[in-house]
């Protein structure tokens, strides 16, 4: 482990999208391929300016399918890699995202969410891609999805995204949205508590013994960079421990079980949440992304009125943080799940605890769920 802190911390006024770039570079990202789309384009623009000064590489590809293919290739060759997009582009990335999942390639995909479907609302925020982030590519697969709520989050969670990708050999999707992406806030860089950086584990055996997809106690096989002497085959077909196509039921079942197991093994570390005034809470808000900001404010307003309100922020959306959600559902007499979509994550909350009194609050007209809206709802619970 090395530390991301190098010199004296300074204060910067950054946009959420800029903070994602800073986080990615601090995490060691040295390759970016992308295709412009509002509201994510600043990420590509800043990367094109900064990466060449760090010995890294930026390329604007012909579309998002190509961008995704390029970052898989670069990561296989050893470069920590990122792409950034929004709704329509995220849809195009699904095919090669599935390839990254099948071949267990660490990388980070940022989706700065905007209203959909289709071209939808290019400049309005939304949280309607949370299910697509989980299930957008076809077939059973394991995936990590994180959501950021502020500029400070955008920096730190981006580093976490790279760390988890590297540690678990998996693609990680980082969801931001038009509001967080374009809001400017002051943050200290490097932060007061620097986030440690994790790099993928390389094979420790000689090349002729190396099995790129061999199971072990963690379920995460060591990963050799292309060109490092460990010649092997990478395929999107179902494959055996050597990486060669194999469709036998034993190999297929074993592969998928290992994919799920490796993330289950790391659940404590992967399933990140943040708690706010939950210790004595009787009513709680559970949400994620930009709505978190309103939730904190609404909880404060409710407390001023003598209501014991609290808030659970889901930093990790997938694998869904069941334990933390269940604990809140058990403790509180009512739980409010506000989302800027027609009700997506609320289904998961309901599945975790069927006895909880759940209220959903949805806004899907391109507008923001303000503190006042949440406060009114809290007071009525």
């Amino acid at each position: 482990m090395q530390s991301s802190s190098e010199d004296q911390s300074q204060k910067y006024l950054l946009q959420g999208n800029e903070a994602i770039v800073e986080g990615a570079l601090a995490a060691g990202c040295r390759f970016f391929a992308g295709y412009p789309i509002t509201p994510s384009s600043e990420i590509a623009e800043i990367m094109s300016r900064k990466l060449p000064t760090l010995g890294g590489t930026f390329i604007q590809m012909e579309d998002e399918i190509a961008s995704m293919g390029a970052i898989v290739g670069a990561s296989l060759a050893g470069a920590k890699s990122l792409t950034a997009t929004s709704g329509p582009g995220f849809s195009l990335m699904q095919e090669n995202l599935g390839y990254a999942s099948m071949t267990e390639v660490p990388l980070v995909v940022v989706n700065v969410m905007r209203g959909g479907p289709s071209t939808g609302l290019p400049t309005s925020p939304s949280q309607a891609d949370v299910m697509q982030a989980r299930w957008g590519t076809h077939g059973d697969h394991a995936i990590i999805v994180l959501a950021v709520s502020s500029v400070a989050d955008s920096y730190e969670i981006t580093i976490q995204a790279f760390n988890l990708a590297e540690k678990y050999r998996t693609p990680v999707i980082l969801l931001s949205d038009e509001i967080v992406g374009h809001t400017r806030e002051v943050i200290s860089l490097p932060p007061d508590q620097p986030v440690p950086i994790f790099n993928r584990i390389k094979p420790s055996v000689p090349p002729e013994w190396y099995l790129p997809y061999e199971d072990n106690s963690r379920g995460v096989p060591p990963m050799a960079d292309i060109g490092s002497g460990y010649r092997h085959h990478v395929t999107g077909l179902m494959h055996d421990a050597k990486g060669f196509p194999n469709f036998s039921p034993g190999v297929t079942g074993g592969f998928l079980k290992r994919q799920y197991r490796k993330l289950a093994n790391g659940a404590d570390e992967i399933q990140m949440t943040k708690q706010f005034m939950l210790d004595d809470a009787e009513v709680a808000i559970i949400t994620y992304g930009c709505v978190s900001r309103s939730a904190i404010r609404a909880v404060r307003m409710a407390r001023e009125q003598g209501i014991k309100a609290g808030f659970l922020q889901l930093v990790t959306l997938w694998p869904f943080p069941k334990k933390a959600v269940d604990a809140v559902c058990r403790r509180c007499r009512a739980v409010l799940v506000p989302e800027m979509n027609m009700g997506q994550m609320v289904r998961e909350v309901r599945a975790v605890n069927q006895n909880a009194t759940l209220e959903q609050l949805n806004r899907f007209d391109g507008g923001f769920i303000t503190p006042a809206i949440l406060f009114r709802k809290l007071m009525s619970l």
Partner: protein, 296 residues
């Protein structure tokens, strides 16, 4: 003493892949594989530095058989993965192998842009004028009037000429060969790998199983005669009229030009970015201590 051809097969084909291969007996893909390993082995590049990325199709299966760093990617996208690999590690010799549908239908956009960008990659395109793996549907190179399982009444679209398309899109080296003219093919592939910049080698090959059966060429030997009869050298083709070229195609090197390749160009970007930063006295964003130089 081990004869040379056996040594090439021993060293360049994987021992742990199941042979015989997945291809139909008599398929031209075996000849392409032979040419590929002879061409690469003659260049004395360490196998650890060779990368072959393929797409999806009968052609796409080729990557699994060679003992390089290999990728079997998604349909049409081999060049995008190859782009990432080459940019991350420019010292590697990166090649792709794709079918005609793979490279010019679903992957057509990636193909023309890879040529335009002139990144140092060698793209081998096996043109059997049909979709082999999925059972004989028409592809962008299926000739007008041919039959296909999705053109039971005859095909009414005009075919792409892949090599000419690559020339127009800006590739540095473009050649066409056939699975009948094998010594020439070895040389064309070798020429492509040696070329700095984007190279395309279009290889006319037989899918007697699907194109052939539907179009009176079901025998691979007849197919060889077809290639022999209809291939005309690039030089001779230049002197022939369009009417004389009807049903024929040129073979040889169509383009071989010197132009800046992407890896060098990107190094200029790094140099300029660092210079600009030094002039402005900026520190943040790295110290620009020439963290990496790509010289190709």
């Amino acid at each position: 003493m081990v004869e040379h051809a056996a040594k090439v097969r021993h060293d360049f084909l994987r021992h742990d892949m199941n042979f015989p291969h997945v291809w139909c007996p008599g398929c031209g893909l075996g000849i392409v594989l032979g040419s590929l390993i002879r061409a690469t082995s003659s260049l004395n590049i360490p196998q650890d530095d060779l990368v072959l990325a393929s797409g999806i199709g009968c052609t796409g299966r080729m990557s699994a058989y060679v003992d390089f760093n290999t990728l079997h990617t998604t349909h049409g996208r081999a060049l995008t993965f190859a782009t990432g690999i080459k940019l991350a590690k420019p010292n590697l010799t990166v090649m792709t192998v794709m079918g005609d549908g793979d490279a010019t239908a679903i992957g057509g956009n990636h193909f023309i842009h890879a040529a335009r960008r002139n990144l140092n990659i060698t793209a081998i395109i096996v043109n059997n004028m049909i979709y082999g793996m999925t059972g004989g549907q028409y592809s962008p190179t299926t000739p007008y009037g041919s039959k296909a399982t999705t053109a039971p009444y005859g095909h009414v679209e005009q075919a792409f000429s892949i090599a000419e398309l690559a020339v127009a899109a800006g590739a540095s080296y473009v050649a066409r060969g056939t699975v009948h003219h094998v010594p020439q093919l070895d040389g064309l592939i070798k020429g492509g790998i040696q070329k700095k910049g984007f190279s395309v080698i279009e290889i006319m090959s037989n899918c007697h199983t699907y194109y052939g059966r539907q179009n009176g060429l079901s025998d691979p030997v007849e197919y060889q005669k077809y290639f022999k009869k209809n291939a005309v050298s690039v030089k001779k083709a230049a002197e022939m009229s369009a009417a004389e070229m009807e049903g024929k195609f040129s073979i040889g090197v169509l383009a071989d030009i010197e132009q800046p390749a992407y890896v060098e160009e990107y190094q200029h970007i790094r140099d300029n970015a660092c210079k600009e930063m030094a002039e402005k006295g900026e520190k943040k964003g790295g110290d620009c201590a020439q963290e990496r130089r790509d010289e190709m």
